[in-house]
């Protein structure tokens, strides 16, 4: 794609989410970013990842600086590759075939900016055929700089019959930065392969966040995602899309906890391209403060027989939050069976009374109900990852209000 097209695309707003003037942000210089262990610990504990992340993470990037020494050798031994995308593109020719394939650089201003100014930073992960990496791989992307644009490009390739459990924590310290995070993610799940992808976000009230994710799942492959965002932001917009081949499966779980004056526009889309494919979208949206949440979900049936189901639930705490739930199902195949259910409400007094009668105080009752509401059990995630999610949800629930 020529530079001129890309420069033009820099003015192209996304069809979703509030438009943002990119000139507010500075682009970074490669190698920039200081590593302060205390700072990193602060962010990682917000993400439920605990302390000592510097020793645990397989890929850690703070601002522009990749702390590559933390990449695990164990993985390399098994033939897996974990590299900054820029290095992977330089060292391995074949990586080019996976780069900017699923996400077109001129999609909108955020993708264009990343292509133009991102220096191809971000992580590249490759798992060779038949290799099953059960232990979760942690990649962490932090920002500590003010008015800065972190523009990332991540590529994950899980080759045929392989397995990867990826956990990404993205966050900032709990303080004003006024920065932008864009993450372009292109994930390839091979034939009969499995990728689980857990993403936890903790931002600050003045952050702008625009992830762009597209996933392609080959024949008989499986993709499971679990997304948790619970902090205030200025605005966050994302609409990951997953294409399923024959017999492929996907479950997309998302938990959005809105707070402050934040705007969240969070979608999930599945395209059933192959026969016998099956997709499920589960979303829980909790509106607090004066937050505004758009919960989008879409399943397209292009081949059959196939199945798709959307479950989108919203819970409003307080009087000022707004949730808009927009489930869509669309089919061009008579044998695609697509269903959806959506509901929005407040915490039912009946449930509170019940818990009161068993000795819970009103506050404890609300916390327990919120915790239950947010609890999407995903048995396909590794136990350690479920623990991380559980801790995060407990933290969120403990902040339940009237």
């Amino acid at each position: 794609m020529d530079r001129e097209t890309l420069l033009k695309a820099l003015n192209k707003p996304s069809p979703y989410g509030p438009d943002v003037d990119l000139s507010r942000f500075n682009v970074g210089l490669a190698g920039e970013g200081v590593l302060e262990e205390g700072e990193v610990d602060k962010i990682s504990s917000r993400l439920g990842l605990g302390s000592g992340l510097l020793r645990k993470a397989d890929y850690l990037q703070v601002n522009e600086s990749v702390l590559s020494k933390f990449m695990r050798e164990k993985l390399t031994e098994r033939g897996a590759v974990v590299l900054p995308t820029s290095e992977a593109l330089k060292k391995l020719d074949w990586v080019r075939e996976y780069s900017w394939r699923l996400v077109k650089p001129d999609t909108d201003k955020y993708t264009a900016a990343t292509k133009l100014y991102g220096n191809e930073l971000g992580f590249f992960i490759y798992v060779p055929p038949g290799i099953k990496i059960k232990d979760p791989i942690y990649t962490c992307l932090f920002i500590t700089r003010k008015e800065y644009a972190q523009l990332l490009h991540n590529i994950v390739v899980v080759d045929d019959g392989a397995e990867l459990n990826l956990v990404t924590g993205c966050g900032v310290p709990d303080q004003p930065l006024g920065s932008l995070h864009v993450g372009i993610s292109e994930y390839y799940v091979g034939r009969g392969s499995k990728l689980t992808y857990t993403m936890i976000h903790a931002w600050a009230p003045d952050m702008v966040v625009r992830p762009r994710t597209v996933v392609k799942v080959g024949e008989g492959g499986e993709y499971v995602s679990y997304y948790v965002i619970y902090s205030s932001v200025e605005s966050l917009q994302t609409y990951p899309k997953v294409y399923l081949g024959e017999g492929a499966k996907a479950t997309l779980n998302s938990i959005v906890v809105g707070d402050g004056k934040s705007v969240y526009d969070v979608g999930s889309a599945i395209v059933l391209e192959g026969k016998d494919s099956a997709g499920e979208i589960l979303s829980r949206n909790l509106g607090r403060g004066s937050s505004l949440i758009y919960a989008r979900s879409r399943i397209e049936g292009r081949a059959g027989p196939s199945r798709g189901h959307i479950e989108c639930l919203g819970l409003i705490e307080g009087d000022n939050a707004i949730i808009e739930s927009l489930p869509e199902i669309s089919s061009s195949s008579p044998e695609a069976v697509l269903t959806h259910e959506a509901a929005i409400g407040k915490i039912s007094e009946d449930l509170i009374s019940y818990l009161l009668s068993k000795g819970f105080s009103e506050e404890e009752a609300r916390a327990a109900i919120v915790k239950g509401f947010l609890n999407i059990e995903e048995p396909k995630l590794p136990q350690q990852v479920r623990e991380v999610i559980k801790r995060t949800i407990e933290y969120i629930a403990s902040k339940a209000v009237g």
């Binding site: 009946d350 449930l351 009374s353 009668s357 068993k358 000795g359 009103e362 109900i369 239950g372």
Partner: protein, 243 residues
Amino acid sequence: MLELREVDVAVGKRKILSNINMVVKPRELHVVLGPNGSGKTSLLNAVMGIKPYEVIKGSIIFEGSDITQEPPHVKARKGVVVAYQIPPPIKGLVAGRFAEELMRRFNVESSYAEVLSEVLEVRDLLSKYLFDKMSGGEKKRLETFLTLLTKPKVALLDEPDSGVDVESLNRMSEALKVALSKGTSMVLVTHSLHMLRLLRDHITSVHVLYGGTVVHSGLYDEVVPSIERYGFSGALTQLARMG
């Protein structure tokens, strides 16, 4: 231990019950009978303090102090716990984890939980979400289990029998006996003659609720045989007339 003194109960502006008196002592089992709509649920819930049921007159004394206006969770922590007639489903809250939480809060030893769960056969229900996707009988067994699990000093049981098969009625009665033997007193609302017979030796007193008040309080042998003879509604009308 638990005493109702001249209690009136209302729902909103509507008075449902007047002048209810009852004294429940340690290890006693009190049975409340009454036709549908006579105010049995209102009575138990008002004692517990659950909205919209309200004690508008009289007082509830528990272990010597007036708890009439205490919020339900304070009463529960003191040892007065109601088992709902129809407990609400709470999605996402795993029954087993909730049970563990109750055990922790009420400091209950696991051997007691084991016995109760055995008798009430709730093991399979504990992996489900609370009262979600359960039959009527399953909900009853689970709710009775959870209530007794708190080792209350007084359990207020609202029709643990309805919708329950005979085998489960036997288990339910067995569970109540276990709790009685551990020192729990009970106020039991029931429509089951079968359950009354099973619990006969433990029943202290039977109270008949009719037309918004207790029209008769007496021993098992004064009340139950007439139910056996005239059927539930016939006997209750007759007892109501007798006063």
